[in-house]
Amino acid sequence: MVNKKSCVAMLLAGGQGSRLGVLTHQTAKPAIPFGGKYRIIDFPLSNCANSGIDVVGVLTQWQPLELNAYIGSGSPWDLDLSSGGVFVLPPYMKQEASEWYSGTANAIYQNLPFIEQYDPDYVLILSGDHIYKMDYAEMLASHIATQSACTIAVRPVPWEEAHRFGLMNTDENDRIIEFEEKPKNPKSNKASMGVYVFTWTKLREYLTSDERNPSSSKDFGKNVIPSMLAAGEKMSAYSFDGYWKDVGTIDSLWEANMDLLKKPVPINLHDRSWRIYARNVGMPPHYVFPSGSVENSLITEGCEIAGQVSGSVLSAGVVVEEGAQVIDSVIMPFAVIRKGAVVRRAIVAESAQIGENARVGEAEGQIAVVGNNVRLADGAVLPAGEQAGN
């Protein structure tokens, strides 16, 4: 028995994130760089640290190496503790069955023994593909105050987009009376954010029975939540009206990066009371050459800029050579944009190289994507909406 914790967080980081195309061929989605010096997972981990939650299990199975190395001992988020901390939880072999995580609910089910070690009262379920700053402690307090079995964080979405989300129909006390997954005719515009607080005994009970149901797809949204509702459990919605962005697609990942350049900025990363922590690469300040120019952009440590950068977000160690242009783009760590190349409305992934005078993306149209370690030849052209992968 380890020491008792009131609340344990479980972060679902196992999905491939196939809608991100070449970006997740070699990397788990939560390890994707974001906003210059962060990775997507920095947001839920920093939220946990800032909310006083100090046990976080990270469930991984797709391309976990980079994510594992990134999380390391958890020290960037103050999660390297004797009494808790961050734990990477891959599937493992057991007496009765050894299997991959077959769904979000199954992933947690397979790790019930991990949660049991802390004898918690509540379990917080998070996902690794959203950019937001949220005080989970407030949500937990609401869950306790309403004596719910489960509390689901929701945010209002525009009515015309509501049909793309999992929606909660609630009564006047925010009690959930109905859950609809992507309905044609929405009755509510309160969309689930994929953030759940469960009373631990209820979670264990419903996960165990869901596991025994052979027709279940072992998913929180499709199976566990509906069966709890059907059984008449008290389910509450917790409204969150801050910035929240799903970055599970190329377009939304690009947009979320571009949101950081807006005035006023919809998500303040300069907030000393709610810092977003990240693992540091240990590089000197970035340098702008006499030939370089930068405006309306975010640039971080280790970048060397001899070309023109505007409307873009550059991660650590990016090189933009003389005469190169980077416009309205997201450039991930250690990518190199060679002389005369033009990168427009594009995402260039880690350590990719764009050859001299190459053209990536266009002023209009879909986002172009260059995958990790891809070397684009001199003079190559990658039109809008195209992806270059390994």
């Binding site: 010096k37 990240a278 590089m283 300040p285 370089g292 975010l298 971080t300 440590e301």
Partner: protein, 374 residues
């Protein structure tokens, strides 16, 4: 690999010429190159040479140094088999807590030397900025059967009239003569205040020197060793460029040298990171219409105006219409709308008010002390 060397960094050196910059801080904690402190560089050389136990001797004004180093976590110096030991001054029956020199400091910290288990020790101070591989220095020390190896440089820019320590070294690398604070240096080799020695031998030498009433390592102990001719003292040349931070002008020009890519490459590279205290700042933000050229800009900066030929530390704000030229701006300083600064060093949290003009000469840059508003 088992550790062969322990490191010791002395931060007690006097710095009269640095004036306002060192009024509230030790030389070792001088802010450098946009995000570092001077001590980060000897620490980096030691870490990259496999030195995992490092003692840091502090003297006065060491609060900022303690704050910077913390638990040593950023340097991976917080383990069971590795670590950073801060050695502040303390009073004993025969020591009033103020070191007259390195030898004094070593005597007060003999316990650190005795408690270490590594066979060799590298002792360094922190007024020089360079990158050196101490494993090569150790190989050289062993290959030449040396008792004591002194690190030196032929760099001309660190020679001073009336100050510094210089070595006469023959073609076999053996040190024969010393000069300290000559009005005109006679020898071309500047001693970098860094040496490598067997730990047990250093303990014996310090014990003996102290009983002889010595305080100074170079002027007294080393002079005597050379006179006695009992020990083999050799020189090891630092293969790279060396900077010396001993005045406001040299502080300014050393920093500005890092606007040159060639100099940055000497100290920084991806395989050998220079670690420092983290601030978890967001990336630098450039507003529409900002202009920046030939400048180093750290994270957390907000740039709306123009910045030329300058170094901006973390969290600096340059408001719209402000122009910063040839400046070093330390963390969290603000240059308000329409203000102009040229050839000045702004210490931490300085506020340059709207439309203010602060223009000085590049050969003698003005220093605006910490927390001032002008």
């Amino acid at each position: 690999m088992k550790n062969k060397m322990v490191g010791l960094i002395y931060t007690g050196q006097r710095a009269d010429q640095l004036r306002d910059l060192t009024r509230t801080r030790a030389v070792a904690s001088l802010p450098m190159i946009g995000r570092y402190r001077l001590i980060d560089f000897p620490l980096a050389s030691m870490l990259h040479s496999g030195i995992k136990n490092i003692g840091i001797i502090t003297q006065k004004n060491y609060h900022s140094l303690m704050d910077h180093l913390g638990s040593g976590r950023e340097w991976d110096l917080h383990g069971k088999r590795s670590g950073m030991t801060i050695l502040p001054p303390y009073m004993t029956s025969d020591n009033i807590g103020v070191y007259e020199g390195l030898l004094d400091a070593l005597r007060s910290n003999l316990n650190f030397l005795r408690r270490s288990t590594e066979r060799y020790i590298v002792v360094s101070d922190s007024v020089f900025l360079y990158s050196v591989d101490f494993t090569r220095m150790l190989e050289d020390h062993i290959a030449r059967g040396a008792d004591l190896t002194l690190l030196y440089s032929k760099e001309r820019s660190i020679r001073r009239h009336g100050s510094g320590n210089y070595l006469d070294i023959d073609q076999d690398g053996v040190v024969h003569q010393l000069e300290f604070d000559p009005s005109l240096p006679h020898y071309e080799n500047t001693y970098l205040s860094c040496f490598l020695i067997r730990r047990e031998l250093l303990i014996a030498l310090v014990d003996r020197a102290v009983s002889g009433g010595f305080h100074l390592f170079f002027n007294e102990l080393l002079s005597q060793m050379l006179r006695e001719n009992r020990y083999r003292v050799v020189g090891f040349e630092c293969p790279n460029k060396v900077w010396m931070i001993d005045s406001i002008a040299s502080y300014y020009s050393a920093n500005m040298d890092f606007l040159c890519a060639k100099n940055r490459a000497l100290i920084f590279n991806r395989e050998r990171p220079v670690w420092t205290k983290l601030r978890d700042e967001m990336p630098a933000q450039y507003a529409p219409g900002s202009k920046v050229s030939n400048s180093l800009i750290a994270d957390g900066c907000l740039i709306e105006g123009e910045v030329y030929d300058s170094i901006l530390f973390r969290g600096v704000t340059v408001r719209a219409g402000a122009v910063v030229r040839n400046c070093i701006v330390m963390q969290d300083s603000v240059i308000q709308r329409g203000a102009q600064t040229e050839n000045v060093i702004l210490d931490k949290q300085v506020n340059i008010q709207e439309n203010a003009r602060l223009i000085s000469s590049p050969s003698y840059p003005l220093v605006v002390p910490k927390d001032m508003s002008i």
